[in-house]
Symmetry: C2
Subunit: 192 residues, 2 copies
Amino acid sequence: MVPATGLRDTLLDHAIVMLEAGEAEPGIRALARAAGVSAMAPYRHFADKAALLAAVAERGFALFLDALSAADAEGSDAERLVAQGVAYVDFACAHPALFRAMFARGAAAPKQPDAPAFAILTRRVAALVGADDPTAALGCWAIVHGMATLALDGGVTLMPEQVRAVLRTYVAGIVAVMRDCPTPGPSPEGEG
Amino acid sequence: MVPATGLRDTLLDHAIVMLEAGEAEPGIRALARAAGVSAMAPYRHFADKAALLAAVAERGFALFLDALSAADAEGSDAERLVAQGVAYVDFACAHPALFRAMFARGAAAPKQPDAPAFAILTRRVAALVGADDPTAALGCWAIVHGMATLALDGGVTLMPEQVRAVLRTYVAGIVAVMRDCPTPGPSPEGEG
DNA sequence: CTGCGTATGTGTACGGTGTAAACAGCGGAG
DNA sequence: CTCCGCTGTTTACACCGTACACATACGCAG
């Protein structure tokens, strides 16, 4: 069914499949059962359940980065930023369990702001405002992450236009704030 | 109201204490042990673990509402909104496990936008923009909830000034957008 | 070939969990 | 008094993560 070279990949494949099917947390034994091996076999490849879930999260972040990169492909900086935000929320809604696993508080996964999946957003914000602005980047990240989380665990139903509108409002706020107190940086160019 | 001032409340008390102590999920048996009763006793007061956690979440939301109300006490609309946002994030950081339990995807708790704990924010946004604006309210909610979530489960460390700055930027964006299109028809109302 | 170490998977076992089923004390209604 | 509903107990089952000991299969030294 799954062209996997070893048990390790087979387990991760099944974990992804289970998560996409709505399973909350695959679990070592269920995974081993799905892979057709004994309950203890996974421990030859993962120290414990947390390590397995961390590996799953790593795969999720790879897919996530792909989605964000695709959205960041073309347009002005502002357009790309908004598109990234929509892709962020879309990814969470399309893969809710995987997204939750990625951001579970156990997974010591790349969740820091300088991780690849977020650096792409931070970079776009920096391009937009003309300088590195951790606060602006945090704001954008928080907005999209907040909407994603609320859509997943809250009772909120989101539409792409809403996501876009919220993000555009924040971008407008960045521009307005920049106009008030311009940052000492390279020549400020129109956001396009 | 609630006909039991006995074991039910005791269990909830211990659940809160355990959550505040950093426990991830109290668990029926652990709770019963802490209360000094048998493992099955809690089932006389809660249908199952999810119901118990939902009751815990309800308590959490009461505390949460208190915190937000206190922050909303005085100042201009914009100031109150920002203060509410800071209080939102502060609450999450001060009671991480409780906050997570409140927003866990099992708890059918008041997480809808019209729940008391969020209505206070929505109302303040409405007062700020001069009309009901679900999108603006969603944006504010998403921003603070995103920062809270990232602070809890991501590796993000937040400072109150940062929270304030992000929120103020969004408010500036709302104002800027309002200036552009002063009378936006009731935006494509997301279903509540 | 034998012997051996390493990597991988198996079997068994322990303590934890949520929870279903049957039972026991106890206060109020007839 | 008996009967009943509420509350808590005991017992039991299935599932979980995982520690331990064992089996199997490999490449390699002699």
